[in-house]
């Protein structure tokens, strides 16, 4: 092991390496790229949520001057015999194959060298359908005879899904179970039992850079330029679809204008690849903001949670049943179901736990990973439930949580012991910033004030691999080759800080080479708060490998120990001129043990724990339901913050995003049709929506197993934000809302109902 001399890169708010390029408008994005001979594709989409396709009439589109070709699934099949893809299930056709499963599904593509021509021609395509009954709600779909897919087709890559292979007559794509102790006995012995049901809405990632991919297939090789969070996965899946070895598929990813989990796995890549293969020219498809609603979304869900609690405040049993609305194609939904499922009992030490978490197909746009991977939906239920219990039994909300929070070394519901998870610290810091223990002005009459807090837990997708290469060039300068995608989170900067710390350089002097699968090594993906921990460790190992090789070279050159001769001089000595490289590699996969399929128990469910607490102070206008978030406090456990400013930016960015999912964002469907599919109607937060007081912090902590004590933090402030606001509203008006988003109207209706003057539409329930 090489002795490390800290050089001041860790804990320093190094400005973003790419900041200047972005500010100057010079950063590279896939949207800017035009290749010679490139065609643009525009998509014709289904207008029905569930139907058999009787015919597609493309004649008018073909007749438009400038149209190169119009493509349906029949054409795709001539180049890819089995055109189905997906990370968990091979259930998604490249274009609709005889059947459409959601309104908005791609049915045909027009290719033209002018995107306007393609768009116009696409508008002339018509299709005839035989309409089928559609199933939209997850609770209904779980028990419905209407099946979105005839048969389940799990991908070979997920061994734990193989038992589902060939299952028919169901919309349940995954039935995850966790059992710890005896939950029924726990309820029977408990002094009190509480049960509540909560619901979350379907929402969208809304990256400011919509999806875009370009495929360039020629001479048996392919280059994909794509806005993807997972270039390595894209290469593997494209190679599988094409039946080619990986080394004939090259995937290049420049900067991303946001991803948030949407740009993972396969999105437009399979389609542009098929099209380019078909026409032997580069093909680009870039979605409009409006089309993004039909690509991938955040799961809606229904969560019923039941707890047994003793008079002394101890939670002794908890049963969770979550139905996840996965939409028409599974995408990574089964993983969301499982990962969010196993922490759905919350950050609490409970002896008897039973969890049932079901991924359900419906006739809605597909749902996949979105910042938090289901943990925020789960926390909405368990943290509102926690306040409801505390209120019913007259417990102090903080002390009730403290009594039940998981302590260091105690087993989480999965049996995995909790280490380095600062639950109490983040909670106490939120309480402190809210002046929780000081007198609070509750308002009166029209304006009522309230405050709330909540604590969240998240397991990290595991096991996943990262590989890094550090290359010292002949002059001693450093290049870092990684597949981590910098999509605005600052990973380039943080990874440079890690290399620089090990090699005794300045982070600003490190060049980070962006993902290009011909050049950069494997990485599972930029997702789920994993990069700092996984890739950060791989980068550290690679840099340490370089140090060892420098030592070896020094010995080879007969230099005295600690000679301090610069690397460039050593290479010059060896090669007689400025030449050569010193290349270090590092790869990392954390310890993991597969959960028991019956009980979900495992000693190693996650490499680290995502930990965050949030607090809110709100003002409610009781005559209108208007809610103002006066203060929003977000505190996370980041381990050691490698770049403190980048951590705070992640904390605030994630909180703003989750605030949108809490207050306004909601994909509204009528008869299976999305009715608000544009940013004119679907409202994300803007600067005018920022809380007056917006506090974003992290606590002093250390992840022993992380690089320089760090852990991932891109999602931690999303987890418990919704219940913090929900609990604050309940504190103000005396009613807990169970359904997200928390709109003016729903708050107003709840107030009127509580006052005994329900609005006519609420009068009968």
């Amino acid at each position: 092991m090489v002795a490390l001399m800290p050089v001041g890169n860790i804990g320093r708010s190094v400005p973003r390496l790419e900041g200047r390029d972005k500010v100057m408008g010079q950063a590279e994005y896939t949207h800017h790229l035009r290749l010679p001979g490139m065609l643009y594709g525009k998509i014709f989409r289904s207008t029905l949520p569930h139907a058999l396709i009787k015919s597609v009439d493309t004649s008018a589109a073909k007749a438009v001057e400038g149209v190169f070709r119009v493509v349906t699934i029949d054409d795709i099949r001539t180049v890819i015999p089995h055109p189905y893809y997906g990370p968990a299930f091979h259930d998604q056709p490249v274009l609709a194959d005889g059947k459409v499963r959601f309104a908005g599904e791609p049915v045909a593509v027009v290719l033209a060298s002018d995107p306007r021509v393609a768009e116009y021609a696409a508008s002339l395509i018509t299709a005839e359908y035989e309409e089928l009954p559609a199933v939209l709600d997850e609770v209904e779909a779980a028990a419905s005879d209407i099946c979105v897919h005839d048969e389940l087709k799990p991908a070979a890559t997920f061994p734990d899904l193989q038992h589902l292979k060939g299952r028919r007559g169901t919309n349940v794509a995954l039935d995850y179970r966790l059992v710890r102790g005896d939950v029924e006995a726990g309820f029977a012995a408990a002094d009190h039992v509480f049960e509540h049901t909560f619901r979350c809405q379907q929402a969208m990632h809304t990256p400011m850079e919509p999806f875009v991919s370009i495929a360039d297939v020629r001479d048996g090789r392919m280059t994909l330029h794509t806005a993807s969070q997972g270039p390595s996965f894209v290469r593997i899946e494209m190679a599988r679809l094409l039946g080619w070895p990986e080394n004939r598929v090259r995937v290049k990813v420049p900067h991303l204008g946001g991803g948030f989990g949407g740009k993972l796995y396969i999105k437009l890549e399979a389609l542009v690849t098929s099209l380019s293969l078909l026409v032997q020219r580069p093909v680009k498809i870039s979605l409009t903001m409006e089309e993004q609603f039909f690509m991938v979304t955040k799961h809606a869900c229904t969560f019923t949670i039941k707890s047994g609690v003793n008079n002394d405040g101890k939670v002794v049993a908890r049963k969770c049943r979550i139905l996840w609305n996965g939409g028409a194609y599974a995408d990574i939904g089964p993983r969301v179901t499982q990962k969010a499922g196993f922490t759905s009992a919350g950050p609490y030490d409970i002896d008897n736990v039973e969890i049932e978490s079901l991924a359900v197909y419906t006739n809605r746009p597909p749902a996949g990973a979105l910042r938090g991977f289901g943990a925020p939906q789960a926390a909405w239920a368990y943290e509102c439930h926690t306040d409801l219990i505390a209120e019913a039994l007259n417990f102090d909300k903080i002390e009730f949580r403290r009594q039940n929070l998981l302590k260091e070394g105690r087993p989480q519901a999965s049996g995995t012991p909790v280490h380095d998870a600062a639950f109490e610290k983040v909670m106490d810091q939120v309480a402190d910033r809210l002046d929780w223990h000081k007198p609070f002005n509750r308002g009166n009459g029209r304006i009522l004030r309230g405050r709330g807090l909540a604590v969240g837990i998240k397991g990290i997708t595991s096991p996943t691999t990262s590989v890094a290469i550090v290359n010292l060039y002949g002059d001693g300068s450093c290049g870092l080759y990684i597949g981590t995608v910098d999509m605005g989170q600052g990973s380039d900067t943080v990874m440079a800080q890690i290399v620089a710390e090990v090699l005794g350089l300045d982070a600003e002097a490190v060049h980070v080479i962006h993902p290009d699968t011909d050049v950069t090594p494997y990485d599972m993906g930029t997702l789920g708060s994993r990069s700092t921990f996984h890739m950060g460790t791989a980068v550290r190992l690679a840099a340490e490998d370089v140090l060892r090789k420098i030592d070896d070279l020094a010995k080879e050159l007969g230099l005295p120990p600690n000679s301090n001769l610069p690397v460039s001089e050593m290479l010059r000595k060896k090669y007689g001129m400025q030449a050569g490289n010193i290349i270090g590699t590092g790869s990392f996969i954390p310890d993991y043990k597969k959960p028991d399929p019956e009980t979900g128990q495992t000693p190693k469910a996650t490499p680290f724990w995502g930990v965050g607490a949030n607090g809110a102070e709100v003002e409610i206008d009781t005559e209108t339901g208007e809610v103002k978030i006066v203060k929003l406090v977000n505190v996370v456990d980041a381990g050691v913050a490698i770049n403190p400013r980048a951590v705070r930016q992640q904390v605030s960015g994630a909180a703003i995003m989750q605030m949108g999912f809490t207050m306004t964002e909601n994909m509204v469907f009528r008869d299976g049709q999305l009715t608000n599919g544009s940013l004119a109607d679907y409202k994300i937060p803007s600067l005018l929506d920022m809380p007056e007081q917006f506090v974003n912090e992290y606590v002093e902590s250390r992840q022993q197993s992380g690089p320089f004590g760090a852990k991932g933090t891109g999602e931690s402030s999303t987890i418990a934000l919704s219940p913090a606001i929900g609990n604050a509203i309940a504190d103000a008006i005396g009613v807990h809302l169970t359904d997200l988003p928390l709109t003016q109207e729903s708050i107003f209706r709840a107030i009127q109902k509580k006052n005994g003057t329900p609005l006519p539409e609420d009068d009968n329930d």
Partner: protein
């Protein structure tokens, strides 16, 4: 997205503008501040082969005032009204309304005439000009025309303007110095279109009261006006009286309100009346 190909004209006189509109027929559109039209063109929700930009017509950017009324050219921006660059006939109502339209970037370019011409039911100026008893003026191939603001709108996005007409200005009578007003609107989120809005003006024994942000033209509340004209102070018993009057007004209007719209409109109206009586709501909207 970006709009389809279109021809752009920037005439310097109203007559020239009308000529260009007549030539363009159904495919020509007037553009002023572009705060609604440009997004709709970009989204391809509106197609236009010809844009006639009235921003180059000097007289439409002007205003004039005497002791009876103020005339505001159609191309005067919300911001000019907000900051008091234009004479105010309304004892502060118009600057206040202007300051609450969308966000500053929109107010910098959006115009009073553009807003009235589009006639989005949630537009603030529809209700404000109606409440102030203003006259809307326009010019077309058949010459100059005008009408009272509360007769200008037929339905959502549908006004008395004909296909080649240009709204040229608004003539607003000055309120008496002792006239008071109140207004309140509810928005889903900061800077958004309102989903409920009320406005009340009281001048001596006469009152005018309107609901805006409905499904069509602003609704004049005659029963409410009669009632409010007698109010000298706000008393708690007035709530029930206003509710009754509002229900009668809505019944007279023949328009449909959902339960929540009715409640929200009532709250906006109550707050507007209270405000007009010098009773400041605890929190003004949007703050």
């Amino acid at each position: 997205m970006k709009p389809g190909a279109l021809a752009y004209f920037k005439p310097t006189t109203v007559t020239e503008a009308i000529g260009l509109l007549v030539d363009g027929g159904m495919d020509a559109k007037v553009i002023a501040g572009g705060q609604s039209l440009v997004p709709m063109l970009n989204l391809r929700m509106v197609a236009a082969e010809r844009l006639v930009d009235v921003g180059g017509i000097a007289e439409m950017k002007q205003w004039s005032a005497d002791d009876r009324e103020v005339w505001i050219g159609a191309c005067v921006t919300h911001d000019q009204i907000q900051i008091g660059e234009v004479a105010d006939p309304s004892n502060g109502l118009m600057p206040k309304v202007a300051s609450k339209i969308a966000y500053q970037a929109v107010r910098n370019r959006g115009t009073i005439g553009g807003s009235l011409s589009l006639a989005d039911p949630a537009a603030d100026w529809l209700t404000t000009t109606a409440a102030l008893g203003a006259t809307i003026e326009w010019e077309g191939p058949d010459g100059k025309k005008s009408c009272p603001a509360d007769e200008f709108v037929f339905a959502a996005y549908t006004t008395q303007l004909d296909i080649s007409d240009v709204l040229t200005g608004v003539r607003i009578p000055r309120l008496p110095p002792d006239a008071t007003w109140g207004t309140y609107k509810l928005c889903r989120k900061a800077g958004e279109f309102a989903h409920a809005m009320a406005m009340v003006i009281s001048a001596g024994a006469r009152s005018r009261a309107f609901l805006g942000a409905t499904d069509g033209a602003p609704i004049r509340l005659m029963h409410t006006e009669t009632l409010v004209a007698d109010f000298r102070n706000w008393e708690s018993g007035h709530t029930a009286l206003v509710s009754q009057a509002l229900e009668a007004d809505i019944a007279d209007s023949g328009r449909e309100f959902t339960d929540i719209q009715l409640w929200q409109s009532r709250t906006c109206l109550l707050r507007s009346i209270q405000m007009s009586l010098g009773f400041q709501p605890i929190k003004p909207e949007g703050v």
